[in-house]
């Protein structure tokens, strides 16, 4: 005779921790209101970096190689100003007929040294002579490598008195044609300056600033780098152009395809007498007296105050997101001008002056203080201690969020279990009396009593005996429904979970995401379990790190935030995975490998053991989930990316003979691949599911694999399923001890039932 065996252990709220001093955090995103010392606000990137020295430096022909065979009428001059510096004058102001050979009418120079594509060009330009038939211009050409087309050039073309191009423009060409090329007809014009002098007629001075900010990403740490290094992924480059007439007016162009390194810079001049100096931009001040670039936001963030609460400030982190540049040190600390970050970006070596770090975001983060309550009395209370646990139901799911249960208890007369309270801890044990293994009594859920989970009652039909109905669940089903996130900072770039050997309470930049989240939930550090040490995921950072990801404004529910992180990172946050009440994380239900994965239970139509007898099994063919076509959409750095996918026509004709579309859109996903995986898991699986009942079997937890040795259901004999839900029922009065489980097919394949 199968008899249920069950009990509930109870502890008062807070014995595993509660928040005695609240945590808080705040993000500051750079803007033009920040105070800056030797820094500049880079509007197109919404970032701040050390400002360059835009003053001209000596430029002379000795720094260049003349382009062989060209009209190299250059001479060294001195350009007036403060400082007066050496410059180069192209002194051919002759008028040439249209169609003149390019090399005959154009002077060409190439720097002898390699230079980063960051420069300022100071020009003194005369108007072209009357009847000039060729284009008047100065072109600065930067060598670049196109990821698929090979060696190329990115050119800043500065025309003058031009009927066609009234403003300077940006042009690129790849591969190089192996001959002199015409920027009007060869390559691609990608951007016109929002300022500039292409339409000017008279002589004038004008300066142009070009800065190329390249972004590399460490795929493991999600850290952003300004320079290439081993193991980094190239995201792309922002080419930033400004006119000296208005340095706050930026023209920017993003290219994920063109890469830059330090290389010779080429200059060509034609059409008029024009002088120039080309100066590499240097960041961080002169060698003899380096500057200390520093910035801080305009607004401070005060520690919250309330009459009956305390906010923690003892442990305080000032994290920030930067683009790492070699031999630069970026640090942040609390400003002397208020509770806000002050970030310094200091060049450590003179050789590092050509590439700068950028600040994308700065934050303050104060973890909450978690204290363990010690209520008077002896804990836990056990329902076996004289009380009657009459009925007990527990439902677990493979999401491991939202496990719930109810129990009806007949307290020992006259004690009414009045010391049980909402949010109290419960550990629920269930099993078959006297059985072992999967059926043995074991803890199936450790959670909390739900906020509205205690219902005392008395009924005449039951001789007026007091009864207590208790509803309980995991954190997701319980207290998290009554809490929201407040003063939470961006989690982009934070590691999801630290290793047990590397407790993040000792980190300098703040807690890992899961510990931080647990901290805000009021869980003690020990209430978070690190799974197997292999999960090294970092919350993705947007390609442009100043673009917020996973926005979590005040009032966002914990579960909403968790769902967003799960979707962005391809992980599963689990409450009470091991029935120990702890928070954990993994990459989702384990994948099935035939012949390797353990089969926890076999549904066998020839079974004779009473505890393994399946009393009923039914099939859910899964058509409601089925989608055979999908449109995907993400907003990446290059703009909106859209992708369509359909089953083959033959496949559609073999199934529903229809197109059932799904739409997947997630701006926080790092790639279409993640949306694709979601589609494969959720929509593109005509997954047969089975649902069966059997004697109470608490050892079968969600994620476990079971094998179906049953014929006549239209499913393969020996096919394998993964448990997605398990409802356990025990009733002492009737002797009921039953499990109802659902599972989805994992072997063979996941194709449709018509195949």
């Amino acid at each position: 005779m199968l008899q249920p065996s069950a009990r509930i252990l109870y502890w008062p709220p807070g014995v595993n921790g509660y928040t005695s001093a609240f945590g808080h955090a705040h993000d500051w995103l750079p803007d033009d209101k920040w105070s800056m010392w030797d820094c500049e606000w880079v509007e197109p990137l919404r970032a701040i970096g050390p400002r360059p020295d835009l003053r001209p430096q000596d430029t002379s022909l000795s720094q260049f190689t003349l382009t062989s065979g060209w009209n190299n009428l250059f001479r060294d001059v001195t350009l007036s100003g403060n400082p007066a510096v050496g410059g180069i004058q192209y002194y051919d102001g002759a008028a040439y007929p249209a169609g003149s050979a390019f090399a005959d009418v154009t002077g060409g120079l190439t720097t002898k040294d390699n230079r980063w594509p960051n420069w300022v060009l100071h020009t003194v330009r005369n108007s072209p002579p009357p009847s000039q038939g060729i284009h008047t211009h100065i072109i600065v050409e930067m060598e670049a490598t196109h990821v698929t087309l090979g060696a190329g050039r990115v050119n800043v073309v500065i025309p003058l008195a031009n009927e066609q191009y009234t403003q300077p423009f940006l042009h690129w060409i790849a591969p190089l044609p192996g001959r002199a090329y015409n920027v009007s007809t060869d390559g691609t014009i990608v951007k016109q300056f929002s300022g500039g002098s292409g339409a000017k007629q008279g002589g004038h001075r004008e300066s142009f600033v070009c800065q190329v900010e390249q972004l590399y990403r460490n795929p493991t740490t999600q850290a952003t780098y300004a320079q290439a290094a081993e193991g980094l992924i190239y995201l792309g480059a922002y080419i930033l152009l400004r006119s000296g007439d208005n340095l706050e007016q930026w023209t920017s162009w993003w290219t994920p395809d063109l890469k830059f390194v330090a290389a010779p810079i080429h200059i060509s001049v034609a059409g008029a007498v024009q002088s120039f100096s080309l100066t590499p931009l240097e960041y961080g001040g002169p060698q003899a007296a380096p500057s200390t670039p520093r910035c801080e936001p305009s607004d401070a963030f005060a520690v919250p105050t309330a009459a009956n609460g305390t906010w923690q400030t003892g442990t305080e982190f000032w994290p920030f997101v930067q683009s790492y540049a070699t031999n630069w040190t970026v640090t942040a600390a609390e400003s002397a001008n208020g509770r806000k970050p002050s970030v310094t970006l200091v060049r450590d070596q003179w050789t590092a002056r050509y590439v700068r770090p950028l600040l994308w975001r700065a934050s303050v983060d104060c973890p909450a203080t978690i204290t363990t309550a010690a209520p008077a009395g002896t804990w836990p209370k056990d329902t076996r201690d004289g009380d009657l646990l009459q009925t007990l139901n527990v439902t677990l799911n493979s999401d491991y969020k939202g496990a719930t249960g109810t129990a009806t208890i007949r307290p020992q007369w006259p004690r009414p279990l009045s010391d049980w309270a909402e949010n109290g801890y419960v550990a629920v044990d269930m099993g078959l009396d006297g059985e072992t293994g999967l059926w043995a009594e074991q803890t199936v859920l450790t959670g909390r009593i739900l906020p509205d989970g205690l219902t005392p009652s008395r009924a005449g039909a039951d001789s007026g005996r007091p009864a207590l109905t208790v509803a309980f669940g995991d954190l997701a089903a319980g207290p998290l429904q009554n809490k929201v996130l407040l003063d939470w900072r961006s989690v982009a770039g934070r590691r999801l979970i630290c290793t047990a050997a590397d407790p993040c309470s000792g980190w300098a930049s703040g807690y890992c995401w899961l510990h931080s989240l647990a901290n805000r939930m009021g869980l003690a550090y020990a209430q978070v379990t690190y799974d197997d040490g292999t999960l090294t995921t970092v919350v993705p950072v947007a390609p442009l790190p100043s673009t917020p990801t996973l926005l979590t404004p005040d009032g966002t529910s914990f579960l909403e935030h968790i769902r967003a992180v799960e979707a962005a990172c391809g992980v599963r946050v689990r409450f009470d995975y091991a029935a120990d009440g702890k928070l954990s994380i993994d990459t989702g239900p384990p994948a099935y490998t035939h012949g390797v994965s353990d089969i926890s239970f076999v549904l066998d139509e020839d079974e004779t053991d009473i505890e393994a007898l399946v009393t009923g099994v039914q099939v859910d063919r899964g058509g409601a989930r089925w989608r055979n076509a999908a449109k995907f959409h993400i907003t990446g750095e290059t703009g909106e990316v859209t992708y369509y996918w359909l089953d083959t026509e033959a496949s559609r004709l073999a199934t529903v003979v229809d197109d059932w579309w799904a739409y997947y859109c997630d701006d926080d996903a790092t790639s279409l691949a993640q949306l694709w995986r979601r589609y494969q898991q959720e929509g593109h699986r005509w997954t047969a599911a089975i649902r069966w009942t059997m004697p109470l079997c608490p050892g079968l937890r969600p994620d476990a694999f079971v094998q179906l040795n049953v014929n006549s259901l239209g499913l393969a004999y020996g096919s394998v399923y993964q448990i997605t839900q398990h409802t356990m029922t025990a009733d002492v009065g009737t002797g009921t001890a039953q499990s109802t489980l659902t599972a989805t097919i994992v072997y063979p394949g996941t194709e449709g039932p018509y195949s």
Binding site: L73, R75, L79, Y91, N126, S127, P128, P129, V273
Partner: protein, 105 residues
């Protein structure tokens, strides 16, 4: 001390733009042109290794007056030199490229 106009007579100087000082004057039976951009106002190299260009020949006979010349930089970058030809007329010469030198307008 500036050497820009050393040896030149009856000439002139002016500003061509961006700190470039140009000068002309008579020397050795010719009207000569020079340019300086340095603060010391020493003649710059104009083309190849030449630091001066001949605007025009101006042979002065025994007792003849030395011709006067004046200079100005044009907005299009050319240089204009006006020369008294000694016969009651003034001729204007222009240089658009130091490689090509001056020609009469």
């Amino acid at each position: 001390m500036s050497t820009l106009v050393d040896g030149l007579q009856y000439g002139a100087i002016c500003h061509r733009g961006a700190g470039e000082i140009i000068a002309c004057g008579w020397a050795s039976d010719a009207i000569l042109f020079r340019s300086a951009t340095t603060t010391a106002l020493t003649a710059d190299i104009l083309h190849s290794a030449a630091t001066e260009l001949t605007v025009c020949a101006a042979v002065v006979g025994e007792g003849d007056p030395i011709p006067r010349s004046a200079i100005i930089g044009h907005d299009d970058g050319s240089v204009l030199v006006a020369v008294d030809d000694g016969a009651g007329a003034i001729k204007v010469y222009r240089c658009r490229s130091f490689a090509d030198g001056f020609s009469e307008v």
